[in-house]
Every structure is written in structure tokens, then in C-alpha cells.
């Protein structure tokens, strides 16, 4: 059952093979059976899920159903969900029952999806290994001694282990694509502005973007269809029409121009990962695609630029967590300053504090030009590199991450080496482009992700390119044996 795709499940629901209530029960049981090993959920909303399943069954009977109606999905705990704890993986929000729904949550509810619960994540989405969560690390279903990647590690692990049909994630510097790669699933970060940020607890506003994490490109297309679209409550939401993502998903790839940036195949890339990526590229060549060597000369700077821009925005975005209107408040504050400093000092974990401090420093008097302004200028250069590349090619391909999943605790004490695990994903966020990670041949039994980057609002093209691979290969169907 947990191998079935969304369209197969939708067909089964319509044919009366099983009800949404049964399907939901099945997934709830799997969660209670397996999640202890993974820690992928922070909150499971069993009652609400079963009630939603009942409504979905009624809706299916009435004939007025969406493809997602009755399908059990999980949401990253960064999305505010009315009446449900929305912690963002932080002690700061451990007591925060969101009083409203995020745009993405409203849309999924509107489609009739069954929301199973909220998945674990790096605290405030700051991390690449899911070890910064207040609720403890998530483990990789392929090997529970390995990290699942982050920050959407809970969603990635839950999808990979079959603890939900599909999940939502958010991606600020690779947080959908990198855990998708490390857990062997499909993850799509849409164009900035494609999915509403309303109700998605902000980390870095000019980079954050929500997207689907699924077992296939086709499932991702169905999820994105529901998630995407204009939201008047988000000033940065794009008014661009949402195409039908399934319409051309099977289109022929003959003549497709694929760019391979030489900077994505440098000495930092592990040879096993490189080999798997090469094999996938060979597949596309066989499909009639034209492979073109390109250069994104400022790629290496994306990490330094990101670690100015993202912390700067986060230092300001996280100022609202002050212990006054919601969230953690320290005991017996002796004065206002004590209230602020202790509530924030206790509520935030080490990585979040580091980023707030770096961001505060980068914006402070005397340093703004050297750090923030400089970073915004190089951001422009990075974006221009992509613009030039897309004059030449349709999509860009490369590895999602330089290595396969690393061990729990391996990089936890070295922030900088952790930051470098996002070296291939960050530039995409800086430019605001859509990017995807799809599983290719595992290396040494560990998943490897191929990154596919498209031009603005070319999600349909990415899905098509990924889907063709998944039609002809079985890599995306590999599942960790423990969770069969």
C-alpha cells in the first residue's frame, strides 16, 4: 500500500477499493509502528486526520473531489496550522498553538488532503542535518546512524519510510533538495513566489520557498498543483498563472539542452556521487538530450553570500520572538531587558543564536557595506551567471549534495563544514530559480540526488525531465528495507 502513487491511490479511492479513512488509519498505524526509530514527526494529529478522512470520503462520493482528496500528507512544522502546535522545531514555539492556517495548509485542506501531522525539522529551518531540532535529530531511514539532511529532514524521512504519501517542505538554501537527496526521494523547490509564504514561519524572507517532497515526480506535480498559486496575503507571491503540471509531464526530451556547470563537478564532489550523476546524465543523452558544458563562475561564492544574506534577514525575522505575545517566556523576568534576553536565550538553540548573531553583526553600523551590501551585489552576479546559462540551455544538472548522507554528530560541532554541504543548492535560492532533486543510482547503498535547475517558473519542465527518468529507471522506487 505505501508504495502506491497519489494517482493510484486516487483511483483506488474512487473505485472503492479502500476508503480514505482506511488509508489514513493505515498511515497512522505505520507512524506509531515506525516513527520511534526515525523521530520524523513532532506532532501527529490523529483525530483531525480521521475526521478529515471522513469528510474526504463524503466528498469522493459526491464526485466533487480533487486528486489529493483523501490522500494522507504530512507538513513540515514550519507551516502554521490552526489549532495545532506549530513549533518550527524550536523550544521557543513549543507552546505555540497556531491561531491560523498558512496559505499552503489552507490550499491542502481545500483540496481535501488528509493532514497527518507536523514533521520534525532543524530549528527555524536552520541546519542541513536535522540535528538542531529541539525535538531531537531525525534519523535517515536508510541507516539510522546517518542524518536525513535538513532542514526538511522529518518530511524527507517520513516520505522515504512510507509514513505519509507525500509531504511539504521549505527550502531556503537547499532544505528540500538536500534531504530529498539524502533520503532517496523527489523534492522540488519552486520558483521564489510560486508558493505562498503566508503562514510559513520566516527564516530568510527573500530565499524561503515551500515545495513538495514525494516519492515521484508525478506525485510532486500533483502536490505542487495544489500548493502553488497567487496569495494576496503575500506581497512576494507571483501572479503568474499556474499551469497544469501533469499536462506535459511525459513529453519527449529529444533536443533538450542540458547544461553541466563545471563548478558543480569540482574536487569537493565525492567520486561515488559523481559516478551516479554521470550515469543519470548518460540516460538523458540516450534520450536525445544535448549535453552542454557551461560555467557558473561565481558559484563558489554562493555559500559566503548566503551566510550573510540569510542570517541578516533571520536576525530581523526572529526579533518578534520576544516572550511578549506568544512563545517561550522566561520565568520571573526582573526587567524588560531580562525578559528579552533570557526568553530568547532559553528559547533558541545554538545554531539559531549563531545565525542571529552573525546577521546582527553583518547589519550593524560600520559593517553593513562590507557584508550585507557586498553580499547583495555578489548575489546579483550569481543571478546573472544563471541568466547567461539559460540563454544557452533549458535545464542545468549536477549533484544535489557533494556527498551521501553523513553520520549523526559528524559535522555538528563544525558549523562551517556543515554549511558547505549546501554548496550546490544555495545559488538557486539566491537567484530565486526552481530546483529539483531526484534519486539516481545509490552509492554504497546510500541515496544520491540529481539536481535539476530550471529557469523562472519552469517547474513543469523540471517535472517533465524528472518524470522521464522515473519512467525509464527504477532508482526512485528503491525503499529502505527496514520500513518495507
Amino acid at each position: 500500500m505505501q508504495e502506491k502513487s497519489i494517482s493510484e491511490l486516487a483511483a483506488g479511492l474512487r473505485a472503492g477499493e479502500f476508503s480514505s479513512a482506511e488509508l489514513t488509519r493505515f498511515y497512522l498505524d505505520r507512524i506509531s509502528q515506525h516513527d520511534e526509530k526515525l523521530n520524523s514527526y513532532i506532532t501527529v494529529t490523529e483525530e483531525a486526520a480521521l475526521a478529515a478522512a471522513e469528510s474526504a470520503d463524503a466528498r469522493l462520493k459526491s464526485g466533487d473531489a480533487d486528486l489529493l482528496t483523501g490522500i494522507p500528507v504530512a507538513n513540515k512544522d514550519i507551516f502554521c496550522t490552526n489549532g495545532v502546535k506549530s513549533s518550527c522545531g524550536s523550544r521557543m514555539l513549543d507552546n505555540f498553538i497556531a491561531p491560523y492556517d498558512a496559505g499552503v495548509i489552507s490550499r491542502l485542506k481545500g483540496a481535501g488532503a488528509v493532514l497527518l501531522g507536523k514533521t520534525n525539522m532543524d530549528e527555524f529551518a536552520m541546519g542541513s542535518s536535522n540535528e538542531t531540532s529541539y525535538y531531537g535529530p531525525v534519523r535517515n531511514p536508510w541507516d539510522t546512524e546517518l542524518v536525513p539532511g535538513g532542514s526538511s529532514g522529518g518530511s524527507a524521512a517520513a516520505v522515504a519510510a512510507g509514513l505519509c504519501v507525500a509531504a511539504t517542505g521549505t527550502d531556503t538554501g537547499g532544505s528540500i533538495r538536500q534531504p530529498a537527496a539524502l533520503c532517496g526521494i523527489t523534492g522540488l523547490k519552486p520558483t521564489y513566489g510560486r508558493v505562498s509564504r503566508f503562514g510559513m514561519i520566516a527564516f530568510a524572507s527573500s530565499l524561503d520557498q515551500g515545495g513538495p517532497m514525494t516519492r515521484s515526480a508525478e506525485d510532486a506535480a500533483i502536490m505542487l498543483q495544489s500548493m502553488a498559486g497567487f496569495d494576496e496575503r503575500d506581497s512576494t507571491s507571483a501572479q503568474e498563472a499556474v499551469p497544469n503540471y501533469l499536462a506535459d509531464i511525459d513529453a519527449d526530451l529529444k533536443g533538450l539542452k542540458i547544461g553541466l556547470p563545471k563548478e558543480y563537478f569540482d574536487e569537493g564532489l565525492s567520486p561515488e556521487v559523481a559516478a551516479s550523476i554521470q550515469e543519470a546524465i548518460d540516460f538523458y543523452r540516450q534520450q536525445g538530450a544535448e549535453i552542454i558544458d557551461i560555467s557558473l563562475p561565481n558559484s563558489a561564492l554562493s555559500v559566503p553570500v548566503y551566510y550573510v544574506v540569510a542570517p541578516a534577514e533571520c536576525s530581523s525575522n526572529l526579533a518578534r520572538f520576544d516572550g511578549v505575545r506568544f512563545g517561550h517566556r522566561c520565568d520571573d523576568p526582573k526587567d524588560l531587558e531580562d525578559l528579552y534576553k533570557r526568553s530568547r536565550g532559553e528559547g533558541f538553540g545554538a545554531e539559531v543564536k549563531r545565525r542571529i548573531l552573525i546577521g546582527t553583526y553583518a547589519l550593524s553600523a560600520g559593517y553593513y557595506d562590507a557584508y550585507y551590501l557586498k553580499a547583495q551585489q555578489i548575489r546579483h552576479l550569481i543571478s546573472d551567471d544563471f541568466a547567461k546559462a539559460f540563454e544557452q540551455v533549458d535545464v542545468i544538472m549536477g549533484p544535489t549534495a557533494p556527498t551521501t548522507a553523513f553520520g549523526l554528530g559528524e559535522k555538528a560541532d563544525d558549523p562551517v563544514s556543515m554549511y558547505l554541504s549546501d554548496i550546490y543548492t544555495i545559488a538557486v535560492n539566491l537567484a530565486g530559480l526552481p530546483g529539483m532533486s531526484v534519486p539516481v543510482r545509490p552509492a554504497d547503498g546510500k541515496p544520491v540526488g540529481l539536481q535539476i535547475i530550471g529557469n523562472y517558473f519552469q517547474e513543469a519542465k523540471l517535472l517533465n525531465v524528472a518524470h522521464r527518468l522515473q519512467q525509464e529507471t527504477e532508482w526512485h522506487k528503491a525503499r529502505p528495507a527496514t520500513f518495507a
Binding site: I97, R354, I358
Partner: protein, 95 residues
């Protein structure tokens, strides 16, 4: 770029973050390492490059001036740490 304990104290105060005495050295060294990474930017000449604050070249959409929100005070104050008579309470503010 190497940050001193005193720099960290100053930044932590601006950010209203309690950083304990015994954390200061570690934080200073972590932050210094991050700044070393960040300073790779200095290698690039950015003269005349327009800073990019947003990924998309869109301009601000304007909302019609209309009241669309109802009073939800009780609902919102349900998650507040301390309220009284509809007010949020904080330790005494001295003007």
C-alpha cells in the same frame, strides 16, 4: 576576521540574546570562523554592481484600503504568556 568576547557581548546585546560567560569564547570562535568563510567575498570586485534584494523583478502590489480583519483578541491572546484586561503584560517599562 576574529571577534573578541567583547564584540560578542555587544552583538548579543543588540540582538537581546543571553549568552553566558562560559559560552562567550566558543561563540566568538564559531562566529570568527563563519566570518572567515564570508570574507571570501572580498576577492570579488563589485564596483558598480546593483545590490539584489529580491530574486524576482516585481514591484509591490497594493491592497485596497478596506477593513477586512475582525476582532480576534481572545483567540490571539490564547497563546500569550501574560495578559490582563486585554493588554499584554511586560515588566515595567521605564520612560
Amino acid at each position: 576576521m576574529s571577534l573578541e568576547r567583547s564584540d560578542v557581548e555587544k552583538i548579543a546585546h543588540l540582538a537581546r540574546l543571553a549568552v553566558s560567560e562560559n559560552e562567550l569564547d566558543n561563540v566568538a570562535s564559531d562566529l570568527s570562523n563563519i566570518l572567515d568563510l564570508v570574507e571570501q567575498m572580498n576577492a570579488v570586485n563589485t564596483d558598480g554592481v546593483t545590490p539584489m534584494a529580491h530574486p524576482l523583478h516585481m514591484s509591490q502590489r497594493l491592497r485596497d484600503d478596506a477593513v477586512t480583519e475582525d476582532n480576534q483578541r481572545d483567540h490571539f491572546q490564547g497563546v500569550a504568556p501574560a495578559t490582563e484586561n486585554g493588554l499584554y503584560l511586560v515588566p515595567k517599562v521605564i520612560e
